[in-house]
């Protein structure tokens, strides 16, 4: 029988930054397993290393020591092309600062990741982008410029952009950090909807209420995992 690998498996992972020969350790001896379909919140105070962990798991940064296996494959020796291919097809991001392209429409922003999928014809790119925009209830704004949207709408566009490539896992870095509470709830509802449709979500937040939307909460403090528990929401 074929062995099924976890989506993400991290063993003794450490990360240090080096500046002028001075080492600044950020993550220490992290062990973590995330399975497909989970909704996980990585929670911790500012400077705890939670964002760095997410960046490493999302292939935006590389670890210093230890092992990171993505679907059973070691990632430490992957070159730029291989990492770019994973970022294009397997993972996607929702950032706190939205990171939408200025002077471009909602549709163009959502289509951006598909630009790096040259085998997908333009007509299909548009269709998939429109579906993604519809899933965050912004179809009526598809031709709006990103600057014409509210913060909550911008973040929903970012979510649509994240799911347009149908990735294995979506990383959300403080997605409600720049939003008012009503917009924050709308964004979290959108993420929960994605999770319900089978996507793996890894959310980074310092806010307990936001973290409670996830099924599992991993508490990071001073570069260590201090807790790995099911949320109230999952227990109920």
């Amino acid at each position: 029988m074929e062995k099924t690998h976890p989506l993400i498996e991290v063993r003794h992972l450490s990360k240090s930054y080096f500046n002028d020969g001075i080492e600044t350790p950020v993550l220490h001896d992290i062990d973590l397993v995330i399975r497909k379909g989970e909704f996980i919140a990585i929670m911790g105070p500012s400077g705890s290393g939670k964002s760095t962990l997410m960046h490493i798991l999302g292939f935006l940064d590389v670890h210093t020591t230890g092992d990171y296996l993505f679907q059973g494959e070691r990632t430490i020796r992957m070159d730029d092309d291989a990492l770019a291919k994973i970022r294009a097809t397997r993972v996607s991001f929702v950032f706190q600062a939205f990171n939408l392209l200025p002077r471009t429409t909602v549709l163009q922003n959502v289509m951006l990741p598909l630009l790096y999928h040259p085998t997908i014809p333009v007509a299909e790119r548009i269709e998939r982008s429109l579906q993604a925009i519809a899933s965050v209830d912004l179809l009526d704004r598809k031709d709006f410029l990103s600057s014409q949207l509210s913060g909550g709408q911008k973040q929903r566009v970012a979510i649509a952009r994240a799911l347009v490539t149908d990735p294995d896992v979506i990383f959300a870095d403080e997605p409600t950090g720049n939003l008012d509470s009503a917009s924050g709830i709308a964004v979290m509802n959108a993420l929960q909807k994605l999770h319900a449709s089978g996507h793996t979500i890894i959310l980074v937040t310092h806010d307990r209420t936001t973290a409670e939307h996830a099924d599992r909460i991993i508490l990071v403090r001073d570069g260590h995992i201090e807790g790995d528990t099911h949320s109230e929401h999952a227990r109920t």
């Binding site: 935006l60 291919k85 294009a88 630009l115 790096y116």
Partner: protein, 419 residues
């Protein structure tokens, strides 16, 4: 992946990169235009200068082409100010020189010319066209063709007949639209019967060759009593350079000129030819080409530095965008090509705008110059235009590499964190 799918993928990737780069250029139109300004001015100058060069070449060619490829002219006088500054009015070319030249095996059809001076009139019309005393070979040497009537022949010369052949401007001056054949005109104190008219010749060495009257050489010689010739036209038999050397050697020997260094300024005669004019034209063209190339190189380097500067600013401004593109799957080389293509688009587009402006300026200039130089025509050197645009695009490639490489090497997370 099969071949057709691979080709489709590459095509789509190229199109996507092109549209992304185009988006970058269009996103900031005014800055893009200002960035292109150096290239626009550079290419416009090159196109304008090469057009002026091509037009001038046509003008000069039109002056010498009517002579025919093997025709030569020997003038009396010195050449103190270089080939273009012949000091005429000398009496150094004699009938004996002509007789000696006729014996040379390397030349043929030697045709002497004596000028007749004085007022020319017909009825109440008076003017002073150039009056040439010539032999029939002169018409052959100068490619002069008959329009009406007949040309001066050997019988006219041998019989010293008082006949004249008129070039078109002279016909127009004296006779307007009426038939001049058989009419009698007065040159100085002598009367001549018009026996023919010639076709238009245009200008030769920047002199109007159509405001002339031709009379038999023997008649002109008798009237003037001149012991010397105003000039001699002749043709090389075969090897042009050999004929040229033979003429110079013969005349130097006859005139007692010791000129071992072949310094033409020491001679008391000047030999002109269409081939020589073409050689001078070639040198002028080469000089002009070098001049244009220098202008092009300087403008493109200046424009290129401008492009590089702006592209570096653009990369810094768009650091977060680069981080985002990498986060959604762009490879380093996708970013490299995008920014490189933006630089090439800026310079290529600048080149094309420069070309249009350069051609427009050359057109306007040709209209203005035509007031002073009627034979000036609008001409464009297509190779120069093509090379200028290609060089402009190439400048973008060269000067765009550094900013594009800087963009491609950005680390995604550092780029996303950039404030």
């Amino acid at each position: 992946m099969d071949t057709s799918k691979e080709i489709r993928t590459v095509n789509m990737l190229a199109r996507d990169t092109f549209s992304t780069a185009l988006g970058g250029v269009i996103a900031n139109t005014s800055r893009s235009l200002l960035t292109m300004l150096g290239i626009i001015i550079g290419v416009a100058s090159v196109v304008l200068m090469s057009s002026v060069g091509a037009s001038m070449k046509l003008v000069i060619l039109s002056q010498v082409s009517s002579l025919g490829s093997k025709s030569m002219v020997v003038f009396p006088g010195t050449q103190e100010g270089g080939p273009a500054a012949v000091q005429t009015g000398h009496d150094s070319l004699t009938f004996e020189d002509l007789a000696a030249l006729e014996k040379l095996s390397t030349i043929q059809d030697a045709a002497p010319v004596i000028f007749l001076t004085g007022q020319t009139s017909y009825g109440r019309e008076e003017a002073t066209p150039q009056v040439f005393g010539i032999v029939p070979q002169f018409f052959l040497n100068q490619n002069i063709a008959i329009q009406d009537g007949r040309l001066i022949d050997d019988n006219d010369n041998q019989g010293a007949r008082a006949v004249a052949v008129l070039a078109p401007d002279a016909v127009q001056k004296f006779f307007g639209n009426t038939d001049p054949l058989g009419e009698r005109i007065k040159i100085g104190d002598n009367h001549f019967t018009v026996i023919g008219t010639t076709k238009a010749l245009g200008s030769q060495f920047f002199q109007n060759a159509d405001d002339r009257i031709y009379v038999p050489f023997s008649v002109a010689r008798t009237i003037t009593g001149q012991k010397y010739l105003n000039y001699i036209t002749l043709k090389a038999v075969d090897d042009f350079d050999r004929s040229f050397d033979d003429i110079k050697f013969l005349l130097r020997t006859r005139h007692g000129i010791n000129n071992p260094t072949d310094d033409e300024k020491k001679d008391d005669f000047v030999v002109h030819s269409s081939a020589q004019a073409n050689q001078i034209l070639g040198s002028v063209s080469l000089g002009l080409s070098l001049f244009i190339t220098t202008i092009a190189a300087i403008s493109l380097i200046v424009g290129g530095i401008g492009i590089m500067n702006i592209m570096l600013v653009t990369v810094t401004e768009r650091t977060r965008e680069i981080g985002l593109r990498k986060a959604v799957g762009a490879r380093s080389r996708d970013i490299l090509f995008q920014f490189l293509l933006e630089a090439v688009m800026l310079t290529g587009l600048g080149g094309m705008i420069g070309m249009v402006l350069g051609i427009g300026a050359a057109g306007i200039l040709s209209l203005l110059v035509r007031y002073f130089l009627a034979t000036y025509t609008f001409a464009i050197s297509i190779p120069s235009v093509v090379v200028a645009i290609l060089m402009a695009a190439f400048t973008g490639l060269i000067f765009g590499i550094s900013p594009a490489r800087k963009a491609s090497l950005l680390h995604p997370i550092e780029a996303l964190r950039y404030e």
